[in-house]
Symmetry: C2
Subunit: 217 residues, 2 copies
C-alpha cells in the first residue's frame, strides 16, 4: 500500500469525516460538501481536512468540493470498512456488557457499520455458555479456536489490569491484528498488532489539565 | 500560566508518565528513572519524553535521570491533580453504571486519584433518588444546583446521541469546565469548556485501518 507511513493523527480523524458523510448521505438533496463545511461538522479546520484527504488521493473538485457518496465509499475502503470485520470482546463484566449493548445498538442502526461482534470471552464458569445480547460467551481456553472459527480481526479487552497482558498474549498468539484495550495498563504487543488504548481515568486526568482552579502556588 | 500553548498531544501523554511514576513509587528501592526507562514503560520514545517534560521545567539531571517522587508531585500539580476535582456523570444506563463502578474501584485503589465522582444524573424518574455505588442520582432539573453545590468541574456524558447536546448545554450553562463525551456526536461548546470525545465505534473504525485484509482492489 502506498500510504503506509501516514500518521495515526490523520487516521484518527478519518472516522470523524466518515460519520459526517454518513449523516449527510441520509439528508436528501445534498450531493457534495465543501472542505469548509466538512471541517465544521467534524470539528476540524478546513485546511487540515484537505491535507488529511490529500494523503489518499484527489477527492475534491475546485469550486464544487467533495462528492459525498464517492468520498464516503473511498473512506470506507481506506478504513477497511467496505466489508465485514469480526470483533471479539473479553471480560464480560459491567463494562463489557455495556460495550456489547452499545455495539449491537450501533450495528442495528447502521447497516454499513461492518464491525460485527461475534464472540465474547470470560473466565467465569457461570458466564461461559450464556449469551449477552445474543452473542455467545466462551471460556479463555476457546480463544485460539474461536479466533480461527469466527475469523476475529479485532478484540476489545475489558478484563482487570492484572489479567490484561495474559489475555492479550492469547489473542496475539491466535493471530488477532488489532486490540482495543480498556484495561489501565500498557500492553506489550509485536509491531504487527495495532493497540489502541482507551483508559477513562487517563482521559479524565488529561481533562483535569484544562480545568482552571484557584491555586496557591 | 506560562504553558498555555502546549499541544494536546503533549498533555495526552502526561497521565501516561504519571501512571508509570505511580507504579514506580510503589516499588521500593527505586528513587530515580532515566528518560529511556520512563519511555519504555509509558510506550513513548525517550527523546519525546525529554521534550514533553522540558515544556514544564528542568526535571531531569544529566546521568541521573528523573527523581521519581519529585517528578510525580510536579506532574500532579501540572495536571491539577494535587487536590480533589469533583466529577459528575449523566446517563445512568449500562455504560454509565459500568463507568461509575470502574471509577469507584480506581478511587479505592489509588488514594491520590483525586477525581471524585460526586453526583449522577438521569431523566428517568425510576432512577432519580436512588444510589449507584453509593452516589446519588439526581434529575436533569437539578443540574444547575448540583454543579454549584458539589462544585462539579467535569462531567461524563453517557446519554444517547440525540440528547447529548441538550444535556451538555445545561452543564455548560451551570459552569462546568470539562466534558468527557461518550455520546457518538460532536458536541458544540464554547472555547472555555474543554471537550474530550471517547467514542468506541470511532476507535474501532480507526483500528480497522490497521487490520490487513486480502483485498481484491
Amino acid at each position: 500500500m502506498r500510504w503506509n507511513k501516514i500518521s495515526d493523527a490523520v487516521i484518527r480523524r478519518l472516522p470523524l469525516y466518515l460519520r459526517v458523510l454518513d449523516e449527510l448521505a441520509e439528508e436528501s438533496g445534498t450531493e457534495s460538501i465543501s472542505s469548509q463545511e466538512l471541517g465544521v461538522r467534524a470539528g476540524v479546520g478546513p485546511a487540515l481536512v484537505r491535507k488529511d484527504l490529500a494523503w489518499f488521493g484527489e477527492f475534491g473538485k475546485q469550486g464544487v468540493g467533495y462528492e459525498i457518496a464517492y468520498l464516503r465509499d473511498e473512506l470506507r475502503k481506506i478504513l477497511n470498512l467496505d466489508s465485514k470485520l469480526s470483533v471479539g470482546l473479553v471480560g464480560v463484566g459491567s463494562l463489557g456488557v455495556a460495550l456489547t449493548r452499545y455495539h449491537q445498538k450501533r450495528s442495528a442502526e447502521d447497516a454499513s457499520f461492518n464491525l460485527e461482534l461475534t464472540a465474547l470471552f470470560d473466565s467465569d464458569p457461570a458466564k461461559i455458555g450464556t449469551r449477552v445480547e445474543g452473542i455467545p460467551v466462551y471460556g479463555l481456553e476457546d480463544i485460539l479456536s474461536q479466533v480461527k472459527e469466527k475469523g476475529l480481526n479485532i478484540v476489545i479487552i475489558t478484563v482487570p489490569a492484572q489479567e490484561a497482558q495474559d489475555v492479550a498474549n492469547r489473542f496475539i498468539q491466535a493471530g488477532i491484528q488489532g486490540i482495543l484495550n480498556f484495561a489501565p495498563v500498557k500492553l506489550k504487543a509485536p509491531d504487527t498488532v495495532h493497540v489502541v488504548n482507551t483508559d477513562v481515568s487517563l482521559e479524565l486526568q488529561r481533562l483535569a489539565y484544562y480545568v482552571p482552579k484557584a491555586k496557591t502556588n
